[in-house]
């Protein structure tokens, strides 16, 4: 039985005797699935991660890698057509070709759900089956994605039976799915991605190199992802998640997906280091890889140049260290470089990451100055510039990651002299109340969080003329505007926000005038979970 599986799964190697392989990749990540679905948090991140790995380690030239994020089915098919055209051209030139397709997002009722658009899985599978590439590898990280492997023409095989010592290049289609046909595919805030893609990525970075040859084959990657996904999801509320592997191939030979030693770059965990789980986390808080370190075995992880946290979770505490990977260099981590820390002091996982990528609240007090684009009241203008103080409440990630909703209120006041009729200077006291609703798009990764958005506010203004016997005057109007700012985190929950609002103010009493204002404000912000 094992031999049968081996024979049917042997796929052409990148470095096979038939010559180099031109590789193409179409990577799709979509957090939204339209009606009846709840937005995903990490589908786009999973896609980015796979795109980075394939272009850095997987032999796919950046120009041959297409990354679609929150895009439509129409554009997916357009991009697929472009990939097919390039593959056909390469094939015509005599190149051996490979096409890697990856999808992370929603799937329901037999169709991929890309926002409000759909793409039937059967038609996509048929398209991939006919694609002009010698070998096609499709990975679906979506709920019930295993349904695509239950159809006619594909044979299912457990990944752990893949063998990699065959030599004859194979041709055909291989499909990996993140879950069986009746299972959900789950995401995890603690790892910042889907279980399957997270482990697939960790494996491709080197942890799946079971043979120790410095290369991760398709079989190794799948076996690794399968094992870890099942283990991690066994205790979740949704139940265990079983990835599937199916194929329709001729020939044999395992496909090398990533070469982790060619670049000689990354992190080396020496053989003497303790066995167990090692988490490699980037400075944004993303778990880049989760390494299952074996006893007395070194492990090379092909991390991209940059700084990382290295973390181990022990029974009663954490071990945490920080490393820097330079281009073209291998950094060796020493256990002595890692310091002990309480779980509550975990700087790279838990509260920060959960707050960053999940729905949560933010409350801020602000102070600023609203500068009105009008001549001064001392020269006959209408609305004075004034300091403003208020409270902001933001519902972060309310409409999907990075899409937030906020309400705010602010009060401002000032006083001065109003020139009336070109002759009379009249003392006034001015006050303003602004109540606003904002829709914000923010980029929450990292310690510096830029954001832009739109806002609609109700401005209620009042002025009185003390001692004049004149009546108070009021004005209320809806004010649309743009919001631009930067949040600077200085802890997991506390941040300072520098914000600018550009507002349109219409005046209609004496005459119709289009005025505006720009508001500069600073906020001290606190974020907390639901």
């Amino acid at each position: 039985m094992r031999a049968l599986a081996v024979a049917s799964l042997l796929i052409a190697s990148l470095a096979s005797a038939e010559g180099p392989t031109r590789r193409f990749a179409l990577i799709v990540g979509n957090d939204t699935g339209g009606d009846g679905t709840r937005d995903l948090m990490y589908a786009r991140d999973d896609a980015r991660k796979l795109h980075d790995i394939l272009t850095r380690l997987g032999g796919v030239k950046p120009a041959d890698a297409f990354l679609l994020l929150n895009d439509s089915s129409e554009n997916l098919l357009k991009s697929l057509a472009e990939v097919e055209k390039r593959a056909a051209d390469a094939r015509a030139r005599g190149d051996r070709t490979a096409l890697f397709f990856y999808y992370s997002g929603h799937a329901r009722d037999g169709a991929l759900r890309l926002g409000s658009t759909q793409l039937p899985m059967e038609s996509l599978k048929a398209r991939l089956a006919q694609a002009p590439a010698d070998i096609r590898v499709a990975v679906f990280d979506a709920c019930k994605s295993g349904a695509i492997t239950r159809t006619k023409g594909m044979r299912r095989a457990p990944a752990f039976e893949v063998e990699s010592d065959a030599q004859r290049a194979a041709k055909g289609l291989v499909i990996l799915t993140s879950s069986a046909s009746d299972e959900d595919s789950q995401e995890s805030d603690s790892i910042g991605g889907s279980y399957f893609s997270h482990h697939l990525a960790s494996g491709l970075l080197g942890d799946a190199d079971k043979s120790g040859d410095g290369r991760v084959s398709l079989g190794e990657a799948y076996a690794y992802a399968y094992e870890r996904t099942v283990a991690d999801t066994a205790d979740t509320a949704s139940g265990p998640q079983h990835p599937t592997f199916s194929f329709d191939l001729a020939g044999n030979g395992d496909l090398v997906l990533t070469d982790v030693i060619e670049r000689r770059e990354g992190l080396l965990i020496p053989a003497s280091a303790p066995a167990g789980a090692w988490f490699l986390v980037d400075m944004r808080g993303f778990v880049v890889a989760e390494i299952a370190k074996a006893e007395n075995a070194q492990r090379l992880v092909a991390l991209a140049p940059g700084k990382y946290w290295v973390k181990r979770r022990l029974a009663g505490h954490l071990k945490i260290g920080q490393i820097s990977v330079a281009a073209g260099e291998i950094t060796v981590i020493s256990p002595e470089d890692m310091k002990s820390a309480d779980f509550s002091d975990d700087p790279v996982k838990g509260a920060y990451q959960t707050l960053t990528y999940t729905k949560h609240w933010g409350v801020g007090i602000n102070g600023g100055y609203n500068l009105v684009f009008d001549k001064p009241l001392e020269a006959g203008g209408y609305f004075p510039s004034a300091p403003m103080f208020g409270l902001d409440v933001m519902f972060h990630n309310a409409f999907g990651r990075g899409w937030s909703f906020g309400i705010d209120g602010a009060f401002g006041f000032t006083s001065g002299q109003l020139l009336v009729g070109g002759l009379e200077s009249l003392p006034y006291k001015y006050s303003a109340l602004a109540l606003g609703l904002s829709g914000i798009c923010e980029w929450p990764e990292g310690w510096w969080v830029p954001f832009v958005g739109v806002r609609l506010a109700l401005n209620i203004m009042n002025r009185e003329f003390p001692g004049s016997g004149l009546p108070n005057q009021g004005y209320a109007i809806f004010v649309p505007g743009l919001v631009l700012g930067m949040k600077i985190r200085f802890s997991t929950r506390w941040s300072f926000v520098a914000r600018t609002r550009l507002n349109y103010l219409l005046y209609t009493i004496d005459s119709t005038r289009s005025l505006g204002s720009v508001e500069f404000a600073g906020l001290f912000n606190y974020e907390f979970g639901l």
């Binding site: 009729g421 004149l470 209609t508 004496d510």
Partner: protein, 301 residues
């Protein structure tokens, strides 16, 4: 989406400033004497209180006229104009709460550069024509609040609209006001036309910024044959030392004059009557320096 509401208007302020400010036109005489010190209660000589009491009573009448007429404009300072037109603001018609069944209306028109006309009108609800009850003109000469103006209250017209009659026969038929607020002193003159007199009673006020002032009145055609025309001029300086001169201008006692001065302590220092047996105590040189009455300048300026 951008709907706006409110009364935020620089121009409204300008129009409202064209209306006379009642507090700026009132006499301060009552305030001066309201301390109750000296003059009436601690006379140095004789009993001159009747002169001052008359002046004070007339000052109160003066202020009541100002209050009653200009008080009708207060409503305009509590509601926004109903209609804003170039060079015009219109309030109303609004239901007149003090006169159920009647409507009020007001209008201020900018007739020229810094020149305004205004009127307050009334009508019986259901009728079309408004009748002007109060009206005036104003020319801003220095600032919007400082200029020269006139206004009137037409009591006959008011009774015609509201269908009322006079509460007392001596109630005026019409009151005309003239004022100048663009200098020091502020000058106010009021002519009160009453049916019993062929010539209106004229009240005059000079009100200085330093609290000095001159207040007086002239009445002509009085029924008393001994004094058919009289005048009273009451003057005071910033320290509240002052002088009253009461003169019979026509009648059997024409030329009769009574005079009284008091010092800053409100003590009478000089008293004189030019008729036989009249009072003559103290020295006129002890009287404080007070201003003479300045006439209202011509209108329009």
């Amino acid at each position: 989406m951008f709907c706006a509401c409110g009364n935020w208007s620089n121009e409204d302020v300008e129009y409202l400033y064209a209306l006379p400010q009642k507090e700026a036109l009132k006499s301060q005489l009552s305030d001066t004497a309201s301390t109750g010190q000296g003059l009436r209660h601690d006379p140095l000589i004789g009993d001159p209180v009747k002169y001052y009491a008359e002046a004070e009573a007339n000052s109160a009448a003066f202020n009541a006229l100002v209050e009653n007429v200009l008080g009708g404009l207060d409503v305009l300072r509590t509601i926004a104009p109903t209609t804003r037109e170039p060079n015009k603001r219109i309030w109303g018609p609004w239901p007149d709460d003090k006169n159920p069944g009647f409507d009020g209306r007001a209008e201020i028109t900018k007739t020229g550069d810094k020149t305004y006309e205004w009127k307050v009108q009334a009508r019986k609800r259901g009728t079309q024509t408004f009748t002007t009850i109060i009206g005036g003109q104003f020319v801003a000469t220095e600032t919007l609040r400082k200029g020269r103006g006139t206004f009137f209250f037409d009591a006959v017209a008011a009774h015609g609209v509201y269908g009322t009659t006079k509460a007392k026969p001596e109630d005026p038929d019409k009151v005309d006001f003239g004022y100048a607020t663009d200098g020091d002193p502020v000058i106010v003159e009021i002519d009160v036309k009453v049916p019993q007199l062929t010539v209106p009673v004229r009240y005059q006020l000079n009100r200085y910024a330093d609290a000095a002032g001159v207040f007086g009145f002239t009445a002509d055609g009085l029924p008393d044959p001994n004094a058919t025309k009289i005048s009273a001029i009451y003057s005071w300086n910033a320290q509240r030392a002052g002088r009253i001169v009461y003169t019979v201008l026509a009648g059997n006692y024409a030329g009769a004059m009574a005079e009284q001065c008091w010092n800053t302590d409100q003590k009478v220092v000089f008293e004189f009557g030019n008729w036989a047996g009249g009072p003559n105590a103290g020295n006129r040189s002890d009287c404080a320096e007070v201003a003479a009455y300045k006439d209202l300048p011509a209108f329009p300026p």
